[in-house]
């Protein structure tokens, strides 16, 4: 994939600013490789954690001879092991994401995923990216190191919006494929007839730290089309005849607020973090301002 195309995802100026950031986790996860993060697992690092009694087979290099001198008992020094962080980004690629201005919701979600992935890779986190289109059909397998950046961006560039949203199937498949707990960032508009609750419940299986970023276009929040309209659903083709009077538009705004508020409350009450974004809010502002505020980045 051409570098120029990849650069559209991550502009150099943005990269310079992203270098200062890292993904912040509020929990300690068990990693599979030694990484740059403290682990609950005791292992080999410089940071002392605890003692335990020596049992045959233990590495004798970690015996604390000072304790033995005082108590005449053998104790092993335990150190906090530094592990890698599993950082998953799920991008909704359903047809409903292909709307919005100045960029589509999908474009916005992809840029955001690219930026988050970059931050993760740069901090030696294990970054994985999946799409959510009906069910997970492709993914960027979790990998570490900045060397994986091009691959990750290339994967993101292959994604195309289309088909009908099916968050339930997408989330279930994701959970089955990614057994390592970690941070999950789901970027979607959450406009699914079957609801989002069933879908998000799947994340409880793995004890993920979940961030739900809801991306809506400004037109969706505040419609400008008035008069007699025949609205066609981009995913189902379903038609809805409306006469967009002031009263109805006012009611629509209320409905959007109720919908977003419902998602936020649902997430908050279940330990997930909800973040709302509109496509007119720049990715820079989103990452450097909003996501830092919410504690996903530091």
């Amino acid at each position: 994939m051409a570098t120029a195309e990849l650069k559209t995802l991550l502009e150099p100026e943005l990269l310079a600013r992203l270098d200062q950031l890292e993904v912040l986790t509020h929990r300690v996860f068990r990693g599979r490789q030694k990484g740059e993060r403290r682990s609950r697992k005791k292992g080999q690092s410089v940071e002392f954690a605890d003692y335990r009694e020596y049992v045959p087979g233990d590495d004798t290099r970690y015996l604390d001879w000072n304790i033995f001198g005082r108590l005449e008992r053998l104790y092993i020094k335990l150190f906090l092991e530094e592990e890698d962080l599993a950082f998953h980004v799920i991008v909704d690629t359903s047809a409903s994401m292909d709307f919005g201005s100045p960029v589509t919701k999908f474009e916005y979600a992809r840029k955001l995923a690219a930026a988050l992935g970059y931050i993760g890779l740069r901090n030696q986190d294990k970054v994985g990216v999946s799409d959510a289109k009906g069910r997970v059909v492709s993914r960027f397998r979790p990998a570490r190191g900045k060397a994986q950046l091009t691959k990750m961006l290339s994967y993101l560039m292959t994604l195309e919006p289309g088909e009908r949203t099916n968050l339930v199937e997408s989330c279930r498949d994701f959970v089955l494929q990614n057994t390592q707990a970690g941070i999950v960032v789901l970027i979607s508009d959450f406009l699914d007839d079957r609801g989002y609750e069933e879908a998000l419940k799947h994340f409880f299986m793995r004890n993920y730290e979940v961030y739900c970023i809801q991306v809506l276009s400004p037109e969706e929040r505040d419609p400008t089309q008035m008069g007699h309209l025949e609205l066609v659903d981009s995913e189902t083709g379903e038609r809805q005849e409306v006469t967009a009077s002031e009263a109805l538009v006012k009611q629509y705004r209320r409905t959007v607020e109720t919908f977003c508020g419902g998602l936020r409350d649902w997430c908050t009450s279940r330990g997930m973090t909800y973040l709302a974004a509109t496509t007119d809010l720049s990715v820079d502002q989103m990452l450097l301002g909003y996501l830092r505020q919410k504690g996903l980045l530091r």
């Binding site: 709307f99 969706e220 089309q225 007699h228 025949e230 995913e235 109805l248 009611q251």
Partner: protein, 625 residues
Amino acid sequence: MTFLQSLWWAGLFALLPAIVVMYLLKLKRRRVVIPSTLLWRRSVQDLVANSPFQKLRNNLLLWLQLLFLALLILAFLRPVMKLENQSGRTLILLIDNSASMQTLEGARTRLEEATDKARAAIDSLSSRDEAIVVTFSDRTNIVQTLTSDRALLDAALDSIEARDVDTSLSEAGLILQSLTSTVDAEGARLPRESTNTIVFSDGVVRGLASLADVPNVEYIRIGTSAENLGITGLDVRESFGDTIEYQIFASVTNAGGEEEEALVELQIDGQVLDIKSVAVPAGETQAVVFATGEVQKGIASVRLDHKDDFPLDDSVVAQIVPPGEIDVLLVTSGNPFLEEVFSIDPRVRISVIRPTDYTPREDYDVVVFDNCGTGDIPAGNFLFINSLPPVPGFAAGDPETVDNPEIIDWNRVHPLTRFANFEEVLIGNALVYETPRSALHVVEAVETDLITLYETETQHIVVVGFDIFKSYWPLDVSFPIFMSNLIEYFAGLSQAGFRPVYRTGQTIPIYPGDEDQVAIVRTPSGKTVEFSFEGISTAYLTETAEAGMYEVDFDKSPDRYLPVNLLSVEESMIGPQEAIDIGGREVVGTGEVVRTNQEVWHWFALAALLIMLAEWLIYCRRTFM
């Protein structure tokens, strides 16, 4: 509630499909593809399902709907605009349903036109007005008594049927008297000014003088057509020759303004026997004579091959009865005129006896007493000349005779005097006598009755009250015609009373055979009238308003026929009269009823419809929402 203006309703109902079609037109909507209709669906549902009441907003559509409903309610309340400051009126609708009202004016008859105009008059009634519907032809009939119920009046108008008869209003005066006048304290009749009498007719009406005292008479002239060629006279006569032959006389009248020529066709029992051409000048009558030749029995029909607006008088029917012998007994001291005149008819077998030789006998068809009386007469047909019959009611007057009586009138339609003209007859001396009240004066002089007919159940008596030797009558053509009529009349009575031709509206006597108990009369349109002869010797058929052949089925005797025809010059002259003369007052006809009240509900209905259309358009455009 009644709906009077059916035409308006029809028009409004015709607009309903137009509204439905407008609703069927789909509103053109702009198609917009959006990410998801999920939130819009919820919004619409929420908007509809929100609380049952909302704050009433100033909305143009609401006002239009209220206005529409108000107009509709007003229309149903049937507002009436008063054009004349009158109320509590009585409207008398006199509708002519005589034969001439069957004249076609385009595709509709005059009677239909008349009922429509009468309906318009009813429409103009206010709620406090009343109306009565009366028809008149040869008789006057109240179709609907006084009422303000328009549905009843409408139904009465619908029920009016035309009759193939003459027109006369002579009975109407009595019927209308109580409605159109009041009686004051001294018993004098005063006209009631609150009544309006409207005559719907073509104006050919006899007896209009009966309306002389009726106030506020309007004449609505019906029809315009005057072109008609019709048969207005018909008779079947035996020819006076060596052999018996029948002659059929038909009179053809031209009511139009130009001479007309047409073919006249004679059929006997459906077979064409003869066709003749006749040219009739405008307003005149021409006679056509057919001879039947050897045919001496059957149903004769005379048809006019001419297309006009009044087809009723274009064909007539008659009956040819086979000849029978007629026995005439002449009781005289000697009268060659009478012997000669009776012997002209080959059917007549004449016997002459002297007055002293007479004994009452019933085996003669006609007994003639010439210048002599008798003590008693049995059942039968009698002619008394210059003598009075021994029947109660007949008595000599004071003085007993009169010299040079002057003939002033004679009955021109009676079978006895048909075709006889007494104008030239001079009489030297005549009896002055009293007659029974039911006697019919056939020929009248100033001082006395010259010829009288008196009929009872069993006796038929004609009195000629003068000596024919003391008159020029035997030398006048009316003498043989009268005697022939007399023989025909009495022979007809002796032959079960069936005559060759009857006129519509005439009461026809039906004489049964000795063993007959029942007779069923079938009219030309198929209606039946049943007569029972228990205790009576003669039945009278009064339902003769239809022209055509009536069939009489006796239970024992052979069937008989009654040929009934219009034969009316007045009815055939179909040209409507510009004005009618009611007892010296001329009432000029107008084309339409002058409305006193105008219903305006249809304007409200129309306004409601327009408002509804406007509301629909605005709703679709949503300009003011």
